[in-house]
């Protein structure tokens, strides 16, 4: 192991940086099949993280230009990362060894730089144009009147039969009363009064229970209530 305790910290830092750059280059150009897949996989993850993270931060820092470009970087990286390491780097390495045409040789000598520069240009363009598919929407806006189905359910459960009706009702087509999974009563007109004899109710752990469902004209459930007697 190198003994660096006696060299000055600036030199140490310099050698760490140089070593890191060499390591980075060795990983970038590593070409065995498993390396190609590992690098591509790691870049897909990085791309997803930057894309998603960027979108989230953009929701809070709406004017942050840097975030938009980081976002674009990640978005393009998801495809470009695998493209580079599954295709471009192996081809560049092979052509560097085997290419005969001098023009090809010249292109290939700078192949990675050309690839990376192309990538950055695409990122810049995408980041500026900001296509809709890249930007994620975290809103679900509409007005304060959410068009909710509102209903105030009032039930008389002391007597036999038990009865229920809706005090206020908006958006409801009809109401059914269910017990034990079977429909016992139905009402199509306000105040949507339904009733059931006590012995038709099903047994639950805290007593007899029944279900009131508010439905729309297609029979789809809008609201469901479970009541225990």
């Amino acid at each position: 192991m190198t003994d660096t305790s006696r060299t000055n910290p600036l030199t140490q830092l310099g050698s760490i940086v140089r070593r890191a750059w060499r390591d980075f280059l060795s990983v970038y150009y590593a070409n065995t099949p498993v390396w190609r897949w590992l690098k591509s996989g790691a870049l897909v993850f990085l791309g997803l993280f930057l894309w998603m993270g960027g979108n989230v931060l953009l929701a809070y820092w709406t004017d942050a230009v840097a975030v938009r470009y980081a976002l674009a970087y990640g978005f393009v990286l998801i495809a470009w990362g695998p493209l580079t390491h599954l295709l471009v780097v192996p081809v560049v390495i092979r052509l560097r060894r085997t290419a005969e045409n001098p023009t090809v040789r010249r292109i290939v000598r700078h192949g990675s730089k050309i690839n990376f520069a192309t990538f950055l240009v695409i990122v810049a363009v995408v980041g500026t144009v900001a296509p809709g598919v890249m930007l994620l929407d975290f809103s679900s806006g509409f007005g304060t009147d959410g068009g909710d189905v509102t209903a105030e359910l009032v039930c008389e459960t002391d007597g036999d039969p038990i009865t229920c009706e809706l005090e206020t009702a908006e958006g409801v087509d009809h109401v059914v009363l269910l017990a034990g999974g079977e429909e016992v009563d139905r009402s199509d007109e306000p105040p949507y009064a339904v009733s059931a004899p006590r012995d038709a109710l099903s047994e639950g752990p805290s007593g007899s229970q029944f279900v009131i469902e508010l439905r729309d004209s297609n029979g789809e459930t809008l609201r469901r209530f479970v009541r225990t007697v």
Binding site: V27, M52, G53, V133, D137, F138, S140, G146, P205, R223
Partner: protein, 574 residues
């Protein structure tokens, strides 16, 4: 029938032992047959649970919207119980038998208990499935947790107790082995056996908690007690609920040490550090119930903070120890035999075509980066408010269990097919593809679940909420793009699971028998041998260090991002 019987026949000597040509272990017939039995049962549970993964995923992907609500919760319950509990626990009994009697070269003691345990576990598992499937109104589907006072069939609680009792019985032969081993001689257990032992202790504590929780709920459902407290049930439940996950974690780590050594040539770089990490787990990991209760009423903040951190993050620290020790073991072992080169040559020269190796490595990476980080982050009491009961929670536990532990167990099953069932793979290419296909597809699906939950607030345990909320115009349709990606990759992941089951079962039924002495391609180049006393300082560990720094960097980034989002919320709390 005879095909199945032949799976349990190997060549043993007069005492019932044979020497494994891959690990060099002395394997007794009794241990091997029970490992095979529990392993096969686990794969059957996987197949059942995995089939229901299809209906569950295709319902949450509302573009398809396969099931309606009345069916969805039943399918979800069956998916959860078969994968999270039965697939895991049957495999873990097998892991205990390997880590104990098999590694120690002993016969399986108390064989009758092993049989009784298996029969009881199967009865419990079938019973739980039946009780969920046949449940009728007003009983509701239990999901995994069966939170009282939601009415769930008492048969469910009863059969779950039966399963847990069976697992306890099945674990007894393991404990008997450790007992006689350490009582007879002054030996120190090998690391794999030590890891299995700690797994076993955590398992017993988890199971006791589960029996308490289900007995409590059962007593209420059959009117032995009049009322039930939801807070108490949740506390008791999560002793087994998270306890079983800690068993999964410990079993998985034990399997990592085992498989990285056998097929990757890894060594243990520091017995002291690795064993200390297991001891830290023993003390602290049992605390880990409160992170399910962080946004519950009635619990003091101080208790929640202490418990969710497993005592100053003692257990997370232990995990980070293994996060270094295991790759370092691979790096040291491989560099020493001349297979390292540069920063990561030791990793890339490794036998990646061996699906056992690939599955183990992907399990380590994906568990750490996706599962572990999100677990610690969402376990912070304040951040939990943004994660609790969203799909992000589901994403987290799919990363830990469905990716991490499942991939490790895939590797183990494939390993056992070669070394114990002595069968070749029915297709080497398909077998090699399994960890890559499953790892990639499930990773993306898991990430999408996390994004949907934390970035869009999509809830879990809901049959429909994205495209439509009945009775309201409000919905979470902004999340539709995330679900489109999720749906596709979930399908790919399920297909990869089918590939695994197909290759496994196909190899057992149709694979060529491996001759004695044939290592089936499992051994790394140069075979297995320890260093012969070489000091650890002589070995370079730069590659592992770099990987761990990257891991820490990602951890910090995810942590900071989550905390930033939290601080943008309105003011909450006293």
């Amino acid at each position: 029938m005879s095909a199945i019987a032949s799976l349990f026949r190997n060549d043993y000597d007069a005492d019932g032992f044979r020497t494994c040509s891959v690990t060099g272990l002395d394997v007794h017939r009794s241990v091997e047959n029970y490992v095979k039995l529990f392993g096969l049962t686990a794969v059957i549970a996987l197949a059942v649970g995995g089939s229901f993964a299809f209906s569950v995923a295709m319902t949450r992907w509302e573009f398809v919207g396969l099931l309606d609500p009345s069916g969805y919760y039943t399918h979800l319950s069956i998916h959860a119980w078969n994968l999270l509990i039965f697939w895991m626990v049957f495999m873990e009994i097998a892991v205990l038998y390997v880590g104990g009697p098999m590694v120690l070269g002993r016969k399986l003691p108390l064989r009758r208990l092993a049989t009784v345990g298996w029969v009881t576990m199967v009865a419990g598992a079938v019973g739980v499935n039946a009780s969920i499937w046949l449940s009728e109104a007003p009983n509701e589907a239990p999901l995994l947790t069966a939170y009282v006072p939601l009415p769930v069939s008492p048969w469910f609680y009863g059969t779950a107790i039966v399963f847990l009792l069976g697992a306890t019985i099945a674990a007894l032969p393991f404990f008997a082995t450790i007992w006689s081993e350490t009582r007879d001689s002054r030996r120190t257990l090998p690391l794999v056996a030590f890891g299995a032992f700690v797994t076993g202790i955590v398992a017993v504590e988890a199971i006791l908690g589960g029996i308490a929780a289900f007995a409590y709920a059962f007593a209420w459902r059959v009117d032995l007690i009049a009322a039930v407290d939801p807070g108490i049930y949740r506390q008791l439940y999560w002793i087994v609920g998270h306890g079983t996950q800690q068993i999964n974690l410990l079993a998985m780590i034990t399997v990592w040490y085992f498989l990285t050594h056998v097929v990757g040539g890894a060594v243990v770089i520091s017995e002291k550090i690795s064993r200390t990490a297991f001891i830290l787990y023993l003390f602290f990991i049992n605390l880990g119930a409160a992170h399910h209760l962080l946004v519950d009423p009635g619990l003091s903040a101080g208790w929640r903070i202490w418990n969710t951190s497993y005592a100053f993050y003692g257990a997370a620290f232990a995990s980070m120890i293994h996060a270094f020790a295991i790759p370092a073991g691979i790096e040291a072992g491989r560099r020493r035999r001349g297979q390292g080169g540069g920063l990561f040559g030791w990793l890339t020269s490794a036998p990646w075509r061996n699906p056992v190796f690939a599955a183990t490595i992907f399990s380590i990476i994906l568990f750490g980066f996706l599962g572990g980080i999100t677990g610690v982050v969402m376990g912070q009491i304040q951040v939990n408010m943004t994660w609790h009961n969203t799909l992000a929670t589901v994403g987290h536990f799919h990363a830990t269990v469905a990716l991490g532990t499942t991939l490790a167990f895939f590797g183990l099953v494939l390993f056992v097919i070669k070394t114990m069932f002595r069968r070749d793979f029915v297709s080497d290419t398909l077998a090699s593809a399994i960890p890559y296909a499953y790892g990639a597809a499930m990773s993306v699906a898991t990430l999408m679940l996390m994004y949907a939950g934390i970035l869009y607030g999509v809830p879990r345990r809901t049959a429909e909420v994205v495209r439509n909320i009945p009775g309201s115009e409000f919905n979470l349709s902004a999340a539709i793009p995330i679900f489109m990606i999720f749906g596709i990759f979930a399908l790919l992941a399920i297909l990869s699971g089918v590939l695994f089951v197909g290759v496994s079962v196909g190899s057992l039924l149709f694979g060529d028998r491996l001759a004695a002495g044939d290592d089936g391609g499992m051994l790394p180049e140069g075979g297995l041998h320890a260093d012969g006393g070489e000091p650890i300082h002589a070995v370079e560990l730069r590659g592992t260090f770099a990987l761990c720094l990257i891991f820490l960097g990602v951890f910090v980034a995810v942590y900071v991002l989550n905390w930033y989002l939290l601080t943008q919320l309105w003011a909450i709390g006293a």
